[in-house]
């Protein structure tokens, strides 16, 4: 069964697949920079005290604030990339 959560609640170094993006202005912007359904992402770094999160997305790393990451619905995949 697929578990669905938002990208801000992912654990570090878990591979996840994007299920959907919140359909609003910020969500549109996220899609345009490459976060769109079907793409895989990995949370690679998290700044402390609720700071930004860095996601590896294909060949790029994009930093998002937590409330921006919350617009991305993901489902974690069982395989670990590394770490």
């Amino acid at each position: 069964m697929l578990v669905e959560l938002t990208a801000d609640s992912l654990k570090i170094n878990t591979l996840a697949s994007i299920v959907g993006i919140e359909p609003n202005e910020d969500g549109n912007r996220l899609s345009e920079i490459g976060f769109y359904p079907g793409k895989k992402l990995v949370l690679v770094n998290a700044a402390p005290f609720g700071g930004p999160l860095a996601f590896e997305l294909g060949n790029t790393v994009v930093a998002l604030r937590r409330d921006e990451a919350r617009l991305i619905r993901v489902s974690p995949l069982p395989e670990l990339i590394h770490g």
């Binding site: 359909p23 609003n24 202005e25 910020d26 969500g27 549109n28 912007r29 996220l30 899609s31 345009e32 920079i33 490459g34 769109y36 359904p37 690679v44 770094n45 700044a47 402390p48 005290f49 609720g50 700071g51 930004p52 860095a54 590896e56 294909g58 060949n59 790029t60 790393v61 994009v62 930093a63 998002l64 604030r65 921006e68 990339i81 590394h82 770490g83």
Partner: protein, 699 residues
């Protein structure tokens, strides 16, 4: 194409090496200006060929053509607004070959806008190392535009591309998304007709833009409301629909043309990031880099600044002694040459700061610094991008404010520019040192002595004033939503030294040429105020000092100092000092301090030399100055410089603007007098209020 393009726009998403490519194509044959209405650098250069002179316009890096930041607005205007002054004849879209998918999205948008286009796949060397292989011919056929594979860093493929550019090898490509599938056709026709645009997708973009953001809209030339009825059209949905179609098309295209030997290992960049973005180590590395940079601007700039100071001083006295004495000679030697010196003296700091910043930017570190500090800045309505200008403000607000240009969000940029002068810059230090020395005349040389503590306290005060003002501005500007971060962390790489050099040159030149005019003007005015008085009061003031009978060297010096002091007291500036005495009395200042305040409006460090002249101290030796100041009494015979007055002055100099170069740079960066005037008034009131409180509490 039959016609050769006259203006080629260079577009691309951020971090694809567009700037390096631009610099490689144009070299020093470029100019930096401003796009109208926004504070975005407009870089353009010339591609020379035997027959044609072609202008190449470097657009800011953006992910798409939907304008939300100033950078995107520029790209939108150039590509979509038919009334915009800069109209591209052809567009070259730069794409990172090791990450084609990300850049192709923008490329298909440009093609859909109907421009003769060429796609430049940059960073071929990196793509090769990552095992990317591309069927170029097939991709050219599918997109319908020429493709150039280059490496701007290594210089490969550049000549062929340049040749293709100058011979006009751009093609109108195949539509990826048909505007008619997104939007009601009759409305689309109406829009095309109204804007007189033959390309449906371009008309759609302009229609969307004009019906969306009122704030942005006001700033573009064409202000009349659009006639086409767009009520009930959900542009956000249309955009989402377009994005998803486009992604599918790009994916399909890459499936057919791109092969990647799949060997995904944790990359070099990721290994560095494990340390650089680490919650603890990352912060320490950031602080270490900032500390080094700050130290460098502070100490390395000292020597060249001294040289410049001396050079202008000797030029000034050379002119004074060579030209026939008179008003014109005085104006030239004391007004203009000294004023020019006051401009050029900032160049070492500007050059050093921008050398550091462009090294950090070029290596990919800058985005990491933003990542690390974003959390700290957020409560104050700022993002991580503001940290570097603020920290640089410790050295000098002028380059710091110039560096705020990289902040994409307009509101964040404005707040950062507004509060940066509160940071205690190096010009405050001489004032602090004199006054703190008066406060604690004898002080042990231990690490934690009272002088050091007082200085530290003043620096902290500056930071607090900056952050609290940012917070107040955030509420005042009442922006509906918080700015975004959404920031790409690019791969680490060796910074391109040519780019660093060009940045340093360009920033220094801009400061001297553009801010310099205003600085020169104000300094000449201030010089006139301090050197002339009404009628022949100045002469009388000078004559009132008795001539020494036996002119020994000491007596001549004392005499000259007394004359200078009397003249300054009788000058317009002296009169202004008396005039403002009632206003500054509640702060504990007398009219003499008033004169020092007026004269140091141009630059706070002038306080020291003005006080030296005022109290007729021949040389500016700090010890002598401090001794004499501590002996200074008022008419009742009480000391003038009581601790309450000194603290009140320290606080005033910590908070007041007192730097015309900053005012000029803020004007240059915000393109209006509104912000610099507001800022000066705000800072002066802030300083006045705080000094008032301090004096009243302490006295």
């Amino acid at each position: 194409m039959d016609d050769h393009p006259k203006l080629i726009a260079l577009a691309g998403v951020p971090n694809v090496g567009k700037t390096t490519l631009f610099n490689a194509l144009t070299g020093l044959n470029q100019k930096v200006g401003n796009f109208p209405g926004v504070t975005v650098d407009k870089k353009s250069g010339w591609l020379s060929s035997t027959k044609n002179k072609i202008e190449l316009l470097d657009l800011p890096g953006t992910y798409n053509i939907h304008p939300q930041s100033e950078d995107e607005e520029v790209v939108f205007n150039v590509l979509c607004d038919p009334n915009y002054p800069a109209q591209a004849d052809a567009v070259a879209v730069v794409v990172d070959m090791s990450n084609i998918e990300r850049g192709l999205f923008l490329a298909t948008q440009v093609i859909d806008l109907g421009y003769p286009t060429a796609v430049v796949l940059n960073m071929e060397d990196l793509a090769k190392r990552q095992g990317v292989s591309l069927n170029k011919n097939l991709m050219e056929r599918l997109l319908g535009v020429p493709i150039h594979i280059v490496s701007a860093d290594k210089g490969t493929g550049m000549n062929d591309m340049k040749l293709a550019f100058t011979s006009g090898d751009f093609k109108v490509g195949k539509l990826s998304v048909d505007a008619k599938s997104l939007f009601e056709e009759s409305k689309l026709n109406e829009l095309q007709e109204e804007f007189n645009i033959s390309i449906p997708y371009r008309a759609l973009q302009l229609g969307k833009f004009l019906s969306l953001d009122k704030d942005v809209q006001n700033r573009i030339e064409k202000r009349q409301p659009i006639r086409t009825d767009l009520s009930g059209v959900n542009f956000s949905d249309i955009q989402a629909q377009e994005t998803s179609i486009r992604h599918e098309i790009v994916e399909g295209l890459l499936r057919k043309t791109l092969k990647k030997s799949e060997a995904e290992r944790p990359s070099f960049s990721r290994a560095i990031d494990a340390v650089v973005l680490h919650p603890l180590w990352g912060m320490l590395i950031f602080l270490a880099i900032m500390f080094t940079m700050f130290q460098a601007i502070f100490t390395w700039a000292e020597w060249p600044m001294d040289q410049i100071d001396q050079a202008f001083a000797s030029l000034s006295s050379w002119v004074q002694s060579t030209l026939p004495p008179g008003m014109l000679t005085d104006l030239l030697s004391e007004g203009i040459i000294t004023g020019l010196g006051g401009i050029v003296i900032f160049v070492p700091q500007i050059a050093l700061l921008f050398a550091f910043l462009s090294l950090l930017e070029g290596s990919g570190y800058m985005a990491r610094a933003v990542f690390i500090t974003d959390r700290v800045m957020r409560p104050f309505g700022l993002n991580g991008r503001s940290v570097v200008p603020l920290i640089s403000g410790f050295a000098c607000a002028i380059p710091a404010i110039m560096s705020a240009r990289t902040i994409a969000n307009k509101k964040d940029k404005l707040i950062t520019i507004f509060v940066t002068p509160f940071m205690s810059c190096s010009a405050r230090l001489p004032v602090y040192i004199i006054l703190v020395g008066l406060l604690f005349p004898s002080s042990s040389a231990t690490f934690f002595n009272s002088k050091g503590m007082a200085l530290f306290f003043l620096y902290i005060l500056g930071i607090l004033a900056a952050l609290l003002s940012a917070l107040a501005l955030k509420y005042f500007m009442r922006s509906k939503k918080e700015g975004r971060l959404m920031l790409e962390l690019p791969r680490y790489k060796y910074p391109n030294l040519k780019t660093v050099g060009l940045t340093v040159y360009e920033k220094s030149r801009t400061f001297v040429v553009e801010a310099g005019k205003i600085i020169l003007m104000i300094s000449v005015i201030l010089w006139v105020l301090a050197s002339y008085g009404p009628g022949n009061t100045m002469q009388e003031a000078a004559e009132s000092v008795p001539q020494p009978l036996n002119p020994s060297q000491v007596e001549v010096q004392t005499y000259e100092a007394a004359v200078a002091s009397n003249k300054l007291r009788a000058s317009y500036a002296g009169r202004l000092g008396r005039f403002i005495e009632p206003v500054i009395e509640p702060l504990g200042y007398d009219w003499k301090i008033g004169i020092a305040l007026i004269c140091s409006f141009a630059a706070r460090e002038v306080f020291v030399s003005t006080v030296a002249t005022l109290y007729a101290i021949g040389d500016e030796d700090i010890k002598t100055l401090q001794e004499l100041l501590s002996e200074e009494t008022n008419d009742q015979g009480n000391p003038v410089f009581t601790p309450a007055v000194i603290w009140s002055l320290l606080i005033f100099y910590a908070f007041a603007m007192q730097c015309m170069s900053t005012v000029a740079v803020v004007y240059r960066e915000t393109k209006s007098w509104k912000i610099p005037i507001l800022q000066t008034v705000y800072m002066t009131l802030f300083a006045y209020g705080s000094s008032f409180l301090v004096y009243q509490l302490l006295s």
